[in-house]
């Protein structure tokens, strides 16, 4: 039996995108919630809760892009030009977000500038990522190994909805991360944010899930055809379970459960996407196998990934362990 390397790689790329979404998701979520916290001390704590790890979290985005280039070059060459505007906006916004971590502590007079840079960059990057996702779900036309659509095709009511949905979702991740990492006044505020974002997130999951099948016959068949319905049924059931766990976690003031429940919601939404996409990597145009690089390139890269990814997981977990615990028991600069 020969291994289907393209399929393995599709799984690995999907995994790195998922890891990016949940890890940088709470970083970006904290940026989105930033304007809602007025106190200097609270903002310092919010930023400090992710400062040692945000760079590693963002590296998964680089792996997503670099990995796509390496193992699915055709998909990379089609998706990037198709999503030119949202991708460029995301990159620029991530610059504003990233440098704020460094610059904000370098100035007192100009601190408000980097507060705005952090919050604005996080929001815009998230919105652009959500739009890009929505545009991908809608499908991307391809001809002669190149994108064959217009330069504003990505902008539709659906993609705007997914952009807003992702902002709400990251906001939920950020709020539940803050519940876990902080205490006192900031934690109380984080519970409030998590209530709002949690309800918003469920509404968004519902709306997007109901809209998606109507975009494309494949999606409809995948979700509402018989007997496929039986196989996909666990996804909405597990979503309901996670929603209940989130509700319980928030109402009984648990520390970690709300974050884990939010992670569950993200993972399930992602699984839903994978179910809809498969076997396409560029929906309705390019399958995993037709986008895959030649066997040798897949194998050469897979050897490196098989050795290095476990090591990466080990030292990433170690870094989180080193910086474990609450960020500011007595509250920093108050």
């Amino acid at each position: 039996m020969t291994l289907d390397l393209a399929l393995i790689w599709a799984g690995l790329i999907a995994l790195s995108v998922l890891v990016y979404v949940v890890l940088d998701g709470f970083d970006l979520g904290i940026g989105i919630l930033f304007p809602l916290v007025k106190s200097e001390a609270g903002r310092d704590q919010m930023m400090n809760s992710v400062a040692p790890v945000w760079d590693g979290n963002q590296t998964w985005l680089v792996l997503g892009g670099g990995g796509l280039f390496a193992v699915f070059p055709l998909a990379y060459a089609v998706i990037m030009p198709a999503l030119y505007v949202p991708i460029i906006v995301m990159l620029l916004a991530l610059i504003f977000r990233g440098v704020a971590f460094e610059y904000r502590w370098k100035t007192r007079r100009g601190k408000f500038v980097w507060d705005a840079s952090f919050a604005g960059g996080s929001m815009l990057a998230t919105f652009a990522q959500g739009i890009a996702l929505g545009a991908l779900v809608q499908g991307i036309p391809v001809a002669n190994r190149a994108y064959a659509g217009g330069w504003w095709d990505w902008l539709t009511p659906f993609s705007v909805l997914t952009g807003i949905a992702l902002m709400v979702g990251y906001g939920l991740l950020g709020a539940t991360w803050l519940i876990y990492k902080t205490d006192g006044e900031l934690q109380r505020a984080a519970y409030r944010f998590a209530w709002m974002a949690g309800m918003g997130m469920l509404a968004m999951i519902g709306t997007v899930s109901l809209w998606t099948p109507f975009l494309n016959e494949n999606y409809m068949a995948r979700w509402f055809g018989w007997p496929q319905l039986l196989y996909v049924m666990p996804v909405p059931l597990l979503v309901a379970l996670c929603a209940f766990a989130l509700y319980r976690g928030l109402s009984t003031k648990r520390q970690l459960m709300p974050f884990l429940a939010s992670l569950g919601l993200f993972i399930l939404s992602f699984v839903g996407l994978v179910i809809s996409f498969f076997p396409y990597i560029v929906p309705s145009s390019v399958t995993i196998w037709s986008a895959a690089a030649p066997h040798d390139s897949l194998l050469f890269t897979l050897v490196g990934a098989a050795v290095l990814l476990p090591i990466i997981f080990i030292y990433t977990i170690h870094a989180y362990w080193v910086f474990r615990g609450k960020v500011g028991t007595t509250g920093g600069y108050r």
């Binding site: 590693g56 963002q58 590296t59 390496a70 460094e102 030649p294 050469f300």
Partner: protein, 469 residues
């Protein structure tokens, strides 16, 4: 005409974003190694001044590294957004090299950066030193893989072409260690070290000129000048070997660097002149007879090929290549001169009290960046009109994106980069103007204004105390 405009805009955008980017990794490659050396010296000698210097440069490193990260993410995506045909066709060869860069280098840097910057109290000296070494190793691994990919574009090897027109790999070893890679890697890493050494030297010199220079300023300056004295001559040798390698594989680039249009035996070395592409000659040339042939062929009467050997559409733009090459070489020799001067002053025991030397060192502080950029322009513009040398042209490589879209993104990049990286440079210079304190704080003190470094510090420390209590 419109496609030409879009192509030109895409080229300018790539040149601008990569030029802005390269400055930061080059500085962080050198600075990460310097930090590892300082950390090691502290652990070996127990002298607090090395720890002070470590904590001083650590804060500067954090800002420079941050700028490198955010400008680097742009590069990962820009191959796809603006050079999609290139991406599709070279992806099977270059993609894996970049994937290895991410997996082996970027995660390593990012995974240990947090511990290096704010973990010393939490993990202890030994593991903290290990983290510093891993960050330094990460920067070097990153240089290894990305320069391997870049070198393959100059000297492709180990490939075949499949039915879809994609380059595919027949021999990974030949791809990674392609003919120009070893030379480019050595030349670039030495350039990064020299660039950083002159920045460190300038900061040391600035504080030596101040009122009461402490031991930290002397150590910085001395270490930097040792680097200049030792590495500058090695770099000139490495550059010469890299040039001979280029002559073998990309003779048209050498002809442009030298300003030679005609193929002649016993070619002169043109020191200065104005290359005139239209008339196909170098005007007002000031040259040394036969030296060009002597350098390039090690024979005063050797034959050196001129640009007329190639049809006009296969020649690189002569002017940029010619001038940037001279800027790079000129700065290289100025660095050599600084190194020699420092040795002389050391011998006379006047290294720390020769103000003219210190002023010159401040002036030379940013020179490494200029040389680095000039060198990159020489080699990359000299690769034109190809992206994959001799096999795929730049015009074939570009995405079919409207000129308006590329123009808008180019303007956005220029505005954002000048604002953001201008601010970052301002903060770095401000950190450098402050002399290293006798007890440089590991983590920032409680008043935010002097809080250099990104800093969960005080909060974390309190949390730790609270947990222990």
């Amino acid at each position: 005409m419109e496609t030409f405009d879009a192509l030109l805009l895409a080229r300018i955008q790539f040149a601008f974003t990569i030029s802005a980017h390269i400055i930061f990794p080059a500085f962080s490659i050198g600075l990460a190694s310097y930090l590892a050396v300082l950390n090691g010296l502290w652990l070996l000698s127990g002298r607090g001044v090395f720890l002070n210097l470590f904590d001083y440069w650590k804060k500067i490193f954090a800002v420079a590294f941050g700028m490198g990260v955010v400008s680097g993410v742009v590069m990962t995506y820009q191959f796809g957004t603006n050079w999609s045909v290139f991406s599709d066709r070279t992806g099977p060869v270059l993609g894996p090299l970049m994937a290895y860069e991410v997996l082996a280098a970027f995660f390593l840097e990012a995974g240990f950066l947090g511990i290096m910057l704010f973990g010393r109290e939490r993990v202890g000296r030994g593991l903290h030193f290990f983290a510093t070494l891993m960050v330094a190793l990460g920067t070097l691994l990153s240089a290894f893989w990305i320069l391997s990919a870049n070198s393959w574009m100059h000297t492709p090897a180990g490939y075949a072409v499949n039915d879809a027109g994609q380059f595919i790999v027949t021999d990974w070893w030949a791809v990674i260690f392609n003919p120009s890679f070893p030379y480019r890697l050595v030349h670039m890493v030495l350039a990064a070290y020299l660039t950083t050494a002159f920045v460190v030297g300038a900061v040391g010199a600035y504080h030596l000129l101040g009122d009461r220079p402490g031991p930290a300023a002397r150590i910085m300056f001395s270490m930097a000048m040792w680097m200049a004295a030792v590495v500058a001559p090695v770099q000139i040798l490495a550059g010469d070997l890299h040039g001979l390698n280029t002559l073998k594989h990309q003779p048209a680039k050498i002809a442009a660097m030298e300003g030679h249009f005609d193929t002649v035996a016993g070619a002169p070395l043109i020191l200065f002149g104005i290359p005139n592409s239209a008339e196909e000659r170098t005007d007002y040339a000031i040259s040394i007879p036969k030296l060009g042939s002597l350098i390039l062929t090690h024979d005063p009467n050797g034959v050196v090929r001129g640009l007329k050997e190639w049809p006009k559409h296969e020649r690189p733009p002569v002017g940029i290549v010619f001038w940037t090459f001279r800027i790079m070489v000129g700065i290289g020799f100025a660095m050599l001169g600084m190194g020699a001067w420092s040795l002389w002053l050391r011998y006379r025991r006047r290294l720390y009290d020769t103000p003219w030397m210190h002023r010159a060192a401040i002036l030379m502080g940013p020179s490494g960046f200029a040389a680095l950029l000039a060198g990159w322009f020489t080699t990359e513009v000299g690769r034109q009109p190809y992206t994959v040398y001799g096999l795929m042209t730049t015009a074939e490589s570009v995405s079919a994106i409207d000129a308006a879209a590329v123009g808008a993104s180019l303007v956005a990049f220029v505005v954002v980069y000048f604002a953001i990286f201008g601010a970052g440079t301002f903060y770095i210079v401000r950190l450098m103007r402050r002399p290293p304190a006798l007890a440089e704080p590991d983590l920032p003190a409680d008043e935010p204004i002097r809080a250099a470094g990104l800093m969960p510090g005080p909060v974390l420390r309190r949390a730790k105390r609270g947990a222990a209590a």
